[in-house]
């Protein structure tokens, strides 16, 4: 009958931030204020006005007239740069803070997960924290007891379950915290960027768990900067910017709109002011960017397409052999690979002064999904001197649109690895009754479904 799960109507939220500077303040004013202000504030306080010190503050609208509806069972991603209002929206829907104006209706039991380990107490043991944290997140005591073993197993902390968590490693701590949260079973789950924790392997486990949640017909609102996770988990994505909804639609469309809009990671970086550019005595970096095969600068790259990484630099002193090179790190901090300029025209050849653009082409079907951060470096050869290094100046996202012709084939769930080359596979087949070809097949154990 009523399949609306979340209904949001013109929600706005105003915050007071920072102190407004009065231009002309005399010492007398300041002193007078120091005596008078406390009384004024106390009288306000007693009248129950929350805005005691707020008059002096500037306000911003963290959210402005946001309206949308989410159907039951929908998994919706919320993206946007920092300060776009994502977290404020989740806080309002979780009833942690009130909207300034507007109305929202939520149909069903809400579990919100804005942080892992909220309410964990250092002095308590793992066992005790599971109970406490479960209760804080809204689980019933019976529910916690029922799922206790499953939670401990998921967190992989069996041996330390009766040790105070202050003796846990940070990884164990986070695993335990997430394990409790992952076993919440509300009809509506609000999740804020909690996957950015723990080691890579556990993150993947959590993503899979999240995906299970989606498949159980639960409504999920999921805030993240992790675009691959968003595109994998969500059918629909809402893009927020400056407190308003900029886009709302199918995940791939919105994610690529976001990545192309310049709101996300930046695909091009220029140094118009030479004084501020990374520079050595021989070479100076002027710009670096990512472009597609047809020359379009972009942050979003199709996993199947070639991508070009370029740097523009100036040679200030003639007569040196230069070696531009790029390093690529993924979002887990893994140094995926490095590449050095191999252009035969300039190999071992001293360069005259002037402007150069060096471009490296990375073939399609090589990189794995996710964000790659690019470092642009320059050295001279013989003598080897370091010229400049511009770490993490630009970044781009490798996106798999799951059409079945990428290296992941028809597998749509998590697939790890720092690179993902498209390889040729072949199969030998012998029908039953003939001599069998045996092979060691290692199968991944299926994820435990929580019930």
């Amino acid at each position: 009958m009523n399949d609306i799960s979340i209904h949001v109507e013109n929600i706005s939220k105003k915050y007071y931030i920072g102190q407004k500077q009065d231009r002309y303040r005399t010492l007398r004013d300041t002193l007078a204020d120091a005596f008078v202000a406390p009384f004024r504030r106390v009288s306000k306080l007693l009248r129950g006005q929350a805005t005691g010190a707020a008059e002096l503050h500037e306000m911003i609208w963290a959210l402005k007239d946001v309206s949308f509806e989410v159907k039951r069972g929908e998994v919706v991603g919320i993206i946007g740069r920092n300060g776009a209002g994502k977290s404020t929206l989740l806080k309002i829907l979780s009833r942690i803070t009130e909207p300034t104006t507007g109305l929202a209706e939520i149909h069903g039991r809400v579990g919100s997960l804005l942080e892992v380990g909220t309410g964990f107490h250092e002095e308590l043991t793992g066992r005790e924290n599971i109970s406490l944290n479960g209760a804080i997140l809204g689980m019933k005591r019976s529910e916690i007891e029922r799922k206790f073993d499953e939670i401990v197993a998921f967190a992989e902390v069996e041996k330390f379950i009766d040790t105070p968590v202050k003796h846990y490693s940070s990884g164990m701590y986070l695993r335990l915290a997430f394990a409790v949260a992952a076993h919440l079973e509300p009809e509506i789950l609000l999740v804020d960027e909690v996957l950015a924790v723990g080691d890579a392997r556990f993150q993947k486990k959590c993503l899979n768990k999240m995906q299970d949640v989606g498949h159980q017909g639960r409504t999920v609102l999921f805030v993240s900067h992790n675009m691959p996770a968003i595109t994998r988990l969500c059918e629909r994505v809402i893009l927020l910017d400056e407190g308003g909804i900029l886009e709302d639609g199918p995940a791939h469309k919105v994610v690529s709109a976001y990545l192309n809009s310049g709101l996300g990671t930046t695909a091009i970086r220029e140094w118009p002011d030479p004084a501020k550019a990374p520079s050595g005595d021989v070479a100076r970096l002027r710009a670096t960017w990512i472009q597609t095969q047809d020359g379009r600068v972009t942050e979003a790259v199709d996993i199947r397409q070639d991508v070009k990484v370029a740097m523009e630099f100036e040679v200030l002193k003639p007569g040196h052999v230069l070696l531009p090179h790029f390093h690529f790190d993924n979002e887990e901090g893994v140094h995926v690979f490095a590449t050095v300029d191999l252009d035969p025209n300039w190999r071992l050849r001293p360069r005259p002064t002037g402007r150069y653009v060096s471009t490296a082409r990375i073939p399609g079907n090589l990189l794995a999904e996710g964000t790659l951060f690019v470092h642009a470096n320059m050295v001279t050869l013989n003598p080897d001197t370091f010229q400049f290094s511009a770490p993490e100046t630009i970044a781009f996202q490798v996106i798999d649109s799951l059409d079945g012709d990428s290296a992941r084939g028809d597998w749509t769930r998590h697939l790890g690895g720092a690179v993902r080359p498209l390889l040729e596979w072949e199969t030998q087949f012998t029908p039953n009754g003939k001599e069998e070809i045996t092979a060691d097949v290692e199968e991944e154990k299926p994820q435990k479904q929580s019930s």
Binding site: A50, A53, A104, T118, G119, E123, L132
Partner: protein, 295 residues
Amino acid sequence: MQNLKKMKQQSTNALLSSKANDVPVIRIEPSQGWVSLKLDELWQYRELLYFLVWRDVKVRYKQTVLGVAWAIIQPFFTMVVFSVFFGELAKVPSDGIPYPIFSYAALVPWSFFSQGLGQASNSLVGGARLIKKVYFPRLAMPIATVLSGTVDFVLAFIVLLVMILAYGIVPTINVLFLPLFLLLALSTSLGVSLWLSAMNVQFRDVGYIVPFITQFWMFATPIAYSSSLIENRLLRTLYGINPMTGVVEGFRWALLGTDTAPGPIVIVSSAVALALLVSGAFYFRRMEKTFADVV
């Protein structure tokens, strides 16, 4: 009364239950002015309340050498100091009861009150992370903190019982009223804590004020002396405006059998405590919407 009704009607964020398919519907909208206390919701969160109390009790004396002994040491040694200075040196009259037990019987509920006040007034600021990240009725925080003090109270009370036996005092049937006096102490502690904890969110001055309040309040309460020092009956009854007077005199009457039944004092004290509690709760609820943004 009409006002109360009006407040209830203005209740927002109410947890309604649609009868049709039994899916709870939560309405989220800005609240204005005085809002309902939502005690029903607090009841729904009783398990969380239980866990918060349990946590406070569990961690209170972790990593202390003397552990739960602290619950006894504080009132006990205060009693020793009082006995030496007020009892022996100043010869403060103690209604014909040995001074040590006279003062200790008052210090036990007083410690419960002052510890509860000190910790609960800081409960929201101390639990800021929780408030910013999870929804639950915020009233649960000061309530849990005050309630967790009952464990300390019980320990100190056992020592009191031992002393009563040691002094050969036979408690009368009035002992049955004791839980009511404890409830009075709890209401007073909670009432003041509700005001102060909510103010503390915005004005950390409260952290500095509380030790003062506690100190003055202690001397304004007949702990080291007896309220019978005030001979005018009317004035003595008015002394009950300090609810802790009712608590302390009540404890002495119930346990030690002081001859003047503190009836009028207790009635005044209860009225004041109730007023503190109800006004504190409404003030707290009114300020609640700002907690997550300001704390």
